[in-house]
């Protein structure tokens, strides 16, 4: 049990899909965060799309996913 023997039948390809699925799930959850919340701390008149931390997060997750997809 301590060695996760019960998962020994899962192939490496399936395991890779689990990781990619995890990144997709995190991205989905990030998109659910209210936009107002991610701008908190910036005055309303200074809020631009490049300050949107949801976009930053999605970009990072996309690069991460592409690394795992290719290796």
């Amino acid at each position: 049990m301590f060695n996760f023997d019960w998962l020994s039948g899962v192939s490496q390809e399936t395991a890779k899909m689990i990781f990619l699925g995890l990144y997709a799930l995190i991205g989905f959850l990030v998109l659910l965060i209210p936009t107002e919340y991610v701008y908190e701390g910036i005055a309303k008149e200074d809020r631009y799309w490049w300050n949107n931390l949801k976009l930053w997060s999605i970009a990072v997750l996309t690069i991460l996913g592409s690394i795992y997809y290719n290796f």
Partner: protein, 502 residues
């Protein structure tokens, strides 16, 4: 051996760092300036500092050595082992800590649970940081010894002297701003080595082909996902359960050296952005620290000690001038890690141990002085304990072993503390004590329980799970906290829709 130009670059770098660090002395007027930089720093500096603090001698030497032995799967630590946890920290945990005006993570645990939990967590981190310092010093000394033939103790003492001075006077502002320069130098030096090494092995495709023909033990060197029955320390089950779900979160959310940087942000957006920006930079780290180890498989096959891979690559690949730059990059990694540990430990000791237990209600200048003196004392402890590292075969694994003792239980109480109102002080305390004890037990008898070479990922997962269950069970059996006690300490959807009130 280094050429004259290399010595010039290294010495110019060290002197430059010392002067830059000391410049920030004038911004330190009280303890908040020393420990939190007066809450005035921008996201880009904090993000760069988070990344560079996390990669030091340990990663340059240790990860290259792991990559030499096990291949690209060691990159999981900076990819899946950082990004998801940093996003969770950015959007959920950091805003709570920043808005609460906290100095330390144990301070949150003290408010959420009780003083005992705060003290245990703080003392544990202080002990870990002290051991970590010794590992860092030893790693630097080994590399300096291989590259330049410097005596080990001269290397350790010279590093300690420079870092100790600017950390003592400049506090966390000096630490973060020197980290910015250190990260730039580290990236320039690191990428120079990667590109020249890649040229030496005939390009990426050639590297993959050559490594693949070197024997059965190298066939999975380019598989980031390793099977669950691998004998390497990085099976995918360990990476998912131990690293992604526990250790990464514990490190990014519960590690004082990381979180304290975000608490120096000038506003909440900068605090969140610093973590996300840091996660973007983090993805480049494996290229710097892992690829040279991979390429050493072709350039220097058959090394008995994988930790020699990076020093050998530097000596054989880089021309004069670039050796000095790479050496400065290595120093940058080392110094940024050491200064972080010094300042964070000083903060933990002053805020969680000295202020509540030794001298309450003293004036602010007194606590500032205590923080500075603690910095010096810790430096001496780190130097004195550094030879311990020589007893461990892999430097990087050694530090993970220390961490696995308490990462799981600490994350269990942080997670339940912030997401579940019913968690009580006795639940948190028992989870922490029993969880740490269980982790130590598993580590001592690991041959009986585990089949992989070094099961620190599994140990962190199982100790987390036990801590999580014990916290729930004991909490349900003990008196719950009042709404007033929990105000501003437990997650509420209000933080997402009504930002001002928690």
């Amino acid at each position: 051996m280094l050429a004259g130009i290399d010595y010039f670059i290294v010495i110019a770098y060290i002197v430059g760092m010392l002067l830059l660090g000391l410049y920030f002395k004038k911004f330190v007027n009280n303890s908040e300036d020393y420990f939190l930089g007066g809450k005035s720093l921008p996201f880009w500096a904090i993000g760069m500092s988070i990344v560079v603090s996390d990669i030091g001698a340990l990663d340059f030497v240790g990860v290259s050595g792991q990559a030499y032995r096990y291949g690209i799967s060691v990159g999981n630590f900076d990819w899946v082992g950082s990004v998801p946890a940093m996003l969770l920290a950015a959007f959920i945990f950091i805003p709570y800590f920043w808005r609460g005006g906290m100095y330390t993570i144990p301070e949150y645990l003290g408010r959420r649970y009780n003083q005992k939990v705060r003290t245990i967590a703080s003392v544990t981190w202080i002990l870990f940081f002290a051991l970590d310092l010794g590992v860092l010093f030893w790693a630097s000394a080994v590399l300096l010894n291989v590259l330049m033939g410097w005596p080990i103790w001269i290397s350790i003492l010279s590093t300690a002297g420079v870092v100790g001075l600017y950390t003592y006077f400049g506090g966390i502002t000096a630490v973060i701003m020197t980290d910015v320069v250190q990260m730039v130098i580290m990236f320039i030096g690191g990428f120079a080595l990667v590109f020249l090494s890649l040229y030496e092995v005939g390009g990426w495709d050639n590297l993959v082909e050559k490594v693949g023909t070197m024997g059965p033990e190298y066939r999975s060197h380019f598989d980031i996902i390793q099977p669950s029955d691998t004998t390497s320390p990085f099976p995918w089950t360990g990476i998912l359960f131990g690293l992604t779900f526990v250790m990464a979160n514990a490190y990014m959310i519960g590690n004082q050296a990381i979180v304290q940087r975000c608490l120096t942000a000038k506003n909440e957006w900068h605090a969140k952005a610093s973590m996300i920006f840091g996660s973007a930079l983090k993805m480049f780290i494996p290229i710097l620290v892992l690829f040279p180890g991979l390429m050493a498989v072709v350039v220097h096959p058959g090394l008995e000690d994988g930790d020699q891979a990076l020093p050998m690559m530097i000596k054989s690949i880089l021309p004069p001038g670039l050796i000095g730059l790479m050496f400065a990059a290595f120093f940058a990694g080392l110094m940024s890690s050491v200064d972080s540990l010094l300042n964070s430990t000083a903060t933990l000791f002053t805020k969680d141990i000295y202020e509540p237990f030794i001298k309450k209600g003293a004036d602010d200048k007194h606590y500032l002085k205590v923080g500075q003196i603690t910095t010096l004392v810790l430096l001496l402890i780190g130097v004195a304990t550094s030879p311990i590292s020589s007893d461990f075969p892999g430097i990087y694994v050694a530090i993970q072993t220390f961490m696995s003792y308490f990462q799981g239980p600490i994350f269990a109480i942080l997670l339940l503390g912030i997401f579940w109102k019913r968690t009580t002080e006795w639940g948190g305390l028992s989870a922490l004590v029993i969880g740490i004890g269980f982790a130590i037990y598993l580590n001592v008898f690991k041959e009986q329980f585990f089949t992989i070479e070094d099961p620190f990922l599994y140990i962190s997962w199982w100790s987390f799970l036990l801590g999580f269950i014990i916290n729930i069970v004991v909490s349900l059996l003990t008196k719950k906290h009042s709404e007033e006690q929990l105000k501003g300490l437990v997650f509420s959807s209000k933080i997402l829709v009504k930002n001002k009130k928690l």
